[in-house]
Amino acid sequence: MLVLTALERRITLHGFGIAETIEQASTAVLHVEEGSLYPALQRLLLKGWISGEWSRTDANRRARYYRLTPAGRHELNRQLESYERVTGAIARVLGMA
């Protein structure tokens, strides 16, 4: 979901970019091995939620840029919704709402 969110914000990104975005957004609270991003990307590609395209970076390096597919956007909305339901429920239980 984090990857999808990152892509939603920035349209297209390569792997390193996604890692950076997630780290910045979470202000380094979520700290995982950066490499585990790649199996996750393969899973998303396989499910058809993101698509990848090779092009050049600013420094003229070949890199694969990922973008959200319509199916992926749909999935993201679904996940956000269910996430909001869950967090909303937790908040109500904790009496914060």
Partner: protein
Amino acid sequence: MLRRLWFLLTRGRRQRELDDEMRLHLELRAAVYQRDGMAGEEAARKARVRFGNRLKLREESVDVWGLAAVDDAAGDLRHAFRRLQRQPGRALVVVLTLAIGIGATTAMFSLIDAMLFKPAPWDSTGRLAWVVGLDGGSLSPRSVPYPDYLAYRDRATAWAGLAAEGGTAMAVGTRDPQRLLGGVVSGNYFEVLGLRAEVGRTFTPADDVAPGGHPVVVLGHSLWMGQFGSSPRAVGERLTINGQPFTIIGVAPRGFTNVAFATDPNQLWIPMAMYSTLMPNRATLNQPASPQWPRVRVVGRLAEDSSIAAADAEMRVISNGLETAGTPRDKQRGVRVLSLRGGLTPWEQADLGPMFGLLAIVPLFVLFVACANAANVLIAYHQARRREFAMRRAIGASRGRLVRQLLAESFVLAIGAAVVGAAAAPVLTRLIVFLGDVPIDLIALLTPDRRGLVAATVTAVGAILIFGLAPAMAATRVDVLPILKEEGTTATGSRGPARLRRALVVAQVALSLALLVIAGLFLQSLSRTLRVDPGFDPRGLAVVGVDTGLLSYTSEQRADFAARFLERASGLAGVTAVAAADVLPLGGVRYSATLRSESGTSSPASLVQASPAYFTTLALPMVRGRTFTTAEAATDVPVAIISASAAQRLWPGEDPLGQSVRTDDPNQPPRQVIGVVRDSTWLFLDEVPAGTLYFPLPPRSAAVFAVRSREDPAKTLASLRDIARALDPNVPVTQAQTMAERIDRSVNLRRALVALLGVLGAVTLILAAIGIYGVTAHGVSVRTREVGIRMALGARAADVLRLIVRENVRLSFVGIAIGLGLSTVGAAVLSSFLFGMTPRDGAVFLGGAFVLCGVAAVASYLPARRAASLDLLRALRHE
């Protein structure tokens, strides 16, 4: 799913791309660190630390594609090949056993497929459909009169074209003409079917307008090859048919003989409009009332925007309109539109459907028993590898992994068996057709096609599940520790596989018993059928058909021919009676009608035109009244003789003599009953006689002669043929059989079924015997040490023998009990095919059980004797 496959297929490139991406990531991260002031080396190291284990992550990413499963499967298959190569004998036994099952199943599939489902070999569009008349709610071959066809053709909009075909025997050639089956077809016939001429042209609608106007003929491919040596110059030549000159205009494409491609193969075709020229003595096309006139079959090509359902609806409406039109014809009860599939006509398919259902199940029995045998072999083999499995489980292989590997071996075996089986299937199909003695176009039927291949593959996969999965599951259900601790191995073996093997033996015994009993029931039904009293005495009867209707004789010439033939035949040595008729019993032909009395009662009946001596010649007893006089026959006085059951239905409790009876043919006058005869069977021996109405035979209509002789009727036949030749060498002798031969032929389908069931039953029995033998032999070898100990403790050879045989006998009894239950169910389901039989026909069931007991005893005695004759010391030292 597709995307996964795509990922797998492009996995080489994808792996390189992934590597590139990861490398880029590391470089970028290192660059960030360097910007923060770290040294190059240190930055790269920290980047790697932060990234994690690159190799492992790479593996994980690749695994996402499902690559592991594929690599494993390939490895399993390679492994399986190596294992099987090490024991080629065992692999061969399993492959051959399975091949029998797969071959039998595939052969039966091709046959049933060809008969019921396969599109015709010359039809690639699938838009052809039958228009079939209904008679009393069921599909009828004879209920589309030609004028109705014309109405359908002209009014229906659902069709791109609607064609008609009829068929008849034709005398082709001048001297000693050949009798060939020919199609009589509408002018658009070939065009509607989408058939192009091989040479020359086919008919056009213009050939089928003026009656007698276009004496043209299209040759069948085989006739063209046989008589004209495939010469293109045949086109334009003359061909004499029924004494009339025709011109050859073309040759039909190879492989086409009939719309229903597995039935009567036509050798030539003439236009409908030539029918009256060809058959001057028969009813004309537009005079459809006579029951003797064979109706046309109607076949059409659906219009582009139409469908079967739309065509059906439209045809019903048109047909209802025809009924109220009041034209004199048989009562027409609507039509149905059915898509053209399979080599049989729809009405044949409806009749034979249940029989094909039975035939489809039988090879599955064989397949299952074969699978059980294969499973037995595998179980024995797996058992010997139990230590290996336990070891592998102990060092971390999952059970699923082991099962997959064993299944890979089964897979290789099954594929081998499918190849052998599929190769053998056409031979088996040929055998079935040969046993069936039915005129089937073999080329159309046996061309190996994708459907047969698919069938073989599906069967093989099913076989893997039956024979591979269960043993693999049983073999891998191992307790690791006890097996690994066992020093010398063996002992009694684990219980799971042993129980499975016993279950398989029970199933084999049960299935082969069921098959044997059913084959036995059919055999008994056949012999009972042959003992049926047909009502007349078939002994000493010879039948000769001489169709003068195929010649351009006048009525007087035909009557003269019949009279001279009868006179000469009665002069033969030993001949006691001769008679003529238009049709005789048990020849496969019947003219049926509905009889009505004046009081409104009705009865179904066959119509027969018979000469006065018919009843004495067939020895069909006269119950009351008298037979026709010669004068009545000559002038066709409206009198009739009726069979007892029809008389009973029409005039219950009254004297039938002097009563008046009508057929449903409005052109026929009411007839006065002058005699009552015993019922006789007409089409099949085992039918319930429908009743028969006999008219006096006008001498010109004589088509079949019956001759009763004290001599061997086969000898009489030869003399009768000579008489026909002497009278006119051009006359085609359409049939020459003894009545016994006719009876034989009338049961040929039944006999074929018995032969088929018998062969398959025997195969199953042999497989089951091998199975029992194998299980016992393996059991003995596993128990060698036990036997040794028993003998050391004083058991005699006979005791050992009893010990081992007893267990098998117990298993066989269980199997026999289940088998008897199965056959009872089977017999109940099939009771409509079994003639004159209570479904529980004790003797057959008992006999089957007895045979299986014997087989089981012998199959277990042989290995048991080996155990009993073991050398004591060797047995104890075993392993």
